[in-house]
Symmetry: C2
Subunit: 346 residues, 2 copies
């Protein structure tokens, strides 16, 4: 790579959103007197009587969870979106509002309260993948659901309110901002080249290998060239598929495998249960074809220097644009040096 990018402030272009990010590789040398996070390793038991996600327990809604043994999903008791909101079409001068309808679900990854994705067996993660696929088909198949956002907030620092391994699905009638940006970029490239933008990018990344973290028969994980979060990573299927519904059985397993390996590396980096938000970006479910869309999953972890010092996306980042302190290449190197065996099992 261009050697100057290692040491010189510069900006990089995100081909999927059309936005730039500022990279200041010389800046990690600065001392840190700011906020540090707690890093208590709580001993978690396989069953917690006070957890509203554990099998057999009561939830806030009054419902009781079944004694589930595989991934279990239910409507979020405090859904942000509701399927039957009254119609709103408010347009008064410069004030504009619209109704938004949707369904929010919670997906418990495992009945075992003490686990997280990196600690789960590949076959159990494969069950989670199958559950995402099923939910995507069901929710996306509903009238008026035009996008299905699958995500996980892991760790208290990421606003996760319960350590039981779980993710969420918010599905809704409008197509969210981040998806619109990517749709446009996929489409522009498709119209010109009749091939997937992300597929072409993946091919280029595999040639140099500089930012590649892992590769198996069907998937690649890498630190994207335009990464914003310190150890941001992306999982991309080699085959150009538009959404999770198109995964074959062997792809489901390969996907579970690469998730496990990436999240083990994450935990090993600072020998902590590594916090992140992860999310799947895929084609909308509004009935159009979207041949240009290429399914992928991203991980946005906030930690930067240690288990207790994170990167703050604040003043400059909020008002101007994203800024990062280490290069994507350095982040990839650091992750690649780590063991593939979880630190708690070494």
């Amino acid at each position: 790579m261009n050697i100057k990018l290692n040491t010189t402030p510069h900006r990089r272009y995100n081909i999927l959103t059309g936005e730039w990010i500022l990279v200041s590789p010389h800046r990690t040398k600065r001392p840190w007197q700011g906020k540090t996070e707690e890093n208590k390793t709580e001993e978690k038991t396989a069953y917690d009587a006070s957890c509203y996600l554990c099998p057999g327990n009561n939830r806030a809604s009054g419902d009781t969870n079944p004694n589930y043994t595989e991934p279990y999903t239910f409507r979020n008791d405090f859904s942000s979106l509701l399927p039957d909101s009254p119609e709103i079409d408010f347009n008064e001068g410069l004030l504009k509002a619209e109704s938004e309808r949707g369904i929010c679900k919670v997906v418990c990854f495992s009945p075992d309260h003490s686990l997280t994705l990196p600690l789960m067996e590949v076959e159990d993660i494969t069950r989670v993948v199958k559950m995402w696929k099923k939910e995507f088909a069901e929710l996306g198949g509903l009238d008026g659901i035009n996008y299905v956002q699958i995500f996980e907030n892991k760790g208290a620092i990421m606003g996760c309110s319960n350590p039981h391994p779980h993710g969420q699905i918010w599905s809704q009638s409008s197509i969210p901002t981040e998806i619109l940006k990517k749709s446009q970029k996929f489409k522009e490239y498709w119209d010109e080249h009749i091939t997937s933008l992300l597929g072409a990018y993946l091919e280029q990344e595999l040639k140099t290998g500089e930012r590649i973290l892992d590769e198996n028969e069907h998937f690649v994980s890498l630190v994207p060239y335009w990464a914003v979060w310190p150890f941001e990573a992306m999982i991309i299927p080699k085959r150009h598929i538009r959404h999770i519904g198109e995964l074959t059985e062997s792809e489901e397993i390969a996907y579970a495998e690469i998730i496990k390996k990436l999240t083990i590396k994450y935990d090993n980096l600072f020998e902590t249960s590594f916090p992140y938000s992860s999310g799947i970006h895929q084609s909308p479910t509004d009935g159009k074809e979207y041949p240009e869309w290429h399914f992928h999953m991203s991980f946005y972890p906030p930690l930067l220097r240690s288990a207790t010092v994170k990167k703050f996306m604040v003043g400059y980042e909020m008002f101007a644009g994203p800024q990062r302190d280490i290069t994507a290449e350095e982040a990839a190197n650091r992750l690649n040096e780590l063991s593939e065996i979880h630190y708690s099992k070494q």
Copy 2:
């Protein structure tokens, strides 16, 4: 206002960025078992020997601060941007990077370590405004500086690494993403109406008063209709000025007054030193005219329910788009009910 917006999930349009935000007013009822922040009220003294921003003290760079008595500014010892970065123009397939040059400065608001803006006198805040104005003129006047971002990160929770009252200025060669978005919207409106988009919005807001927080001869503060952060607010000059350089003397004072009143309300809300990131958005300094631009300042505070529970912008927000739990109108009402006298002085 449309009564349904009080109780129904909906989305609102941000006229300045062209993006939507999801509002879920029914959702604040949900219980919170997640992360809570520390709320220690540290006794701060007017001078702190270990603070690298206090007058007469040494900084990390080895420099010594003068015994300043008014706002004091210096080059950031750990600048994210440097004025003399080597030229980069990297374009290889789908990887694209460019050099970014700039100057980062720190602005100490007061020599008194124990103060914050709400606790400062109006005439001392006016001095800060004058300093911002001077820096804007100087930095913006330099060849190759095309945007000047003035901002403050207040509170450890906002990544602020030193409690001494201070803000920052990052000035740079390219025009940041957030400014490009707003430039476009200002321009579209200007081309059609030959008037300021924000001026027209302000007029409409003043008619209903629903989201107005404060008004003086020259400025208005309000919760914007499309607010993202729970108690987000905006300060807008009544006169259509493009940048801080155009403030008259009496506008400088009125601006200082409205900043003081807003930040007192903030502190009073949860009887804590209220954290936020604030920033000024104004016209670029690339030599073009920008008659459409309308100077304004925004405050993005993370606290939602109390001094210790914040709003997390995580999974859904990162992957789909912003979401908030209370309406802009409710936020404005809550702030309007509070005393104008700082709680520590009541």
